[in-house]
């Protein structure tokens, strides 16, 4: 999992540099400064750099979803409890998703950053639910 995270960062860097190519070619500044807001003052780069980087990664990571699939063995009450625990959903929302899984065969429980989606899938597998990570088409 950790390795994948680093690969993601590598992809982000290359995409960012591609989009900022003219600037990068002209100004030989460290990557962290490029990633920060339009402020080249070396003494103020630390905090804003992290914020910018997180936002960019999030933007790149948006199209992922956590899907739970129907399983005739898992109890409905158990599945509802798992959704409440893992996603912090209120009972009625957890039940809606559980019923969607039951009637339609699957339900999208969450969508967002890939890294977090992986974590959710891992947690759901820990509760023995059939969960997959899918890219939003």
């Amino acid at each position: 999992m950790l390795r994948r995270w680093f690969e993601l960062r590598a992809a982000y860097v290359s995409i960012f540099l591609m989009s900022a190519k003219p600037l990068a070619a002209e100004v030989a500044v460290p990557l962290l400064i490029i990633a920060g807001p339009m402020n080249t003052a070396p003494s103020t780069i630390d905090a804003p750099t992290i914020e910018q980087e997180t936002r960019s990664e999030e933007a790149l990571d948006i199209p992922w979803q956590v899907v739970v699939h129907n399983d005739p063995v898992n109890l409905m009450s158990y599945v509802t409890m798992v959704f409440q625990r893992v996603f912090g959903y209120p009972r009625d929302k957890a039940e809606r998703h559980m019923l969607e899984v039951h009637h339609k065969g699957r339900s999208i429980l969450w969508s967002g950053m890939r890294e977090r989606a992986e974590l959710y899938v891992q947690q759901l597998h820990g509760y023995l639910l059939l969960a997959t990570l899918e890219k939003i088409s």
Partner: protein
């Protein structure tokens, strides 16, 4: 069998030898080893067939973690079930007390056992939902009864956890 909550314990009392034996089988039944279909269900794929590299990493890093998690739960349950050990003649009307702090471990072990038994027997959804007509006339019938009995225990524990 009677089942009730007593302070910080869930008490299964008046257990006849048959149900006591089913309880004793939980840890063994939860083990998917040697049954590929059960293994496949317990350690299901994290994607729908795509992302082969991610799946390989999952197998290498996540599956061992999950295996440990499941084994910890079954060990806890096995520990609680030691209350049933002893002279077989005294097995009738025995009582098992489950500390409520072990409730999660029981939920997990019961779920593992149900999934493994269902996968091994390839039960259909219709069979699993047939709670009325379950005469025990074969090994398969017994396995279905076992799945339903463990499901009943799960339901009770879940209800007690909500209280």
């Amino acid at each position: 069998m009677e089942i009730r909550r007593r302070k910080n314990q869930i008490e299964l009392s008046e257990l006849d030898p048959f149900l006591a034996e089913l309880l004793r089988q939980i840890p063994a039944c939860a083990n998917p080893e040697g049954a590929p279909r059960a293994e496949e269900r317990i350690f299901s794929a994290p994607t729908n067939g795509s992302e082969t590299e991610f799946c390989a990493e999952w197998k290498m890093y996540v599956e061992p973690e999950l295996r440990r998690l499941f084994q910890t739960a079954t060990h806890t349950v096995a520990g609680d079930l030691e209350q049933l050990n002893g002279n077989e003649k005294n097995l009738a009307n025995r009582t098992v007390r489950i500390p409520t702090k072990h409730a999660d471990a029981w939920l997990s072990a019961l779920n593992q056992a149900r999934l493994v038994i269902a996968a091994k027997n390839d039960f259909t959804e219709t069979e699993l939902n047939d709670h009325v007509h379950s005469p025990i006339g074969s090994r398969r019938d017994l396995s279905l009864f076992q799945v339903n009995f463990y499901g009943f225990l799960q339901e009770f524990i879940l209800r007690e956890m909500e209280c």
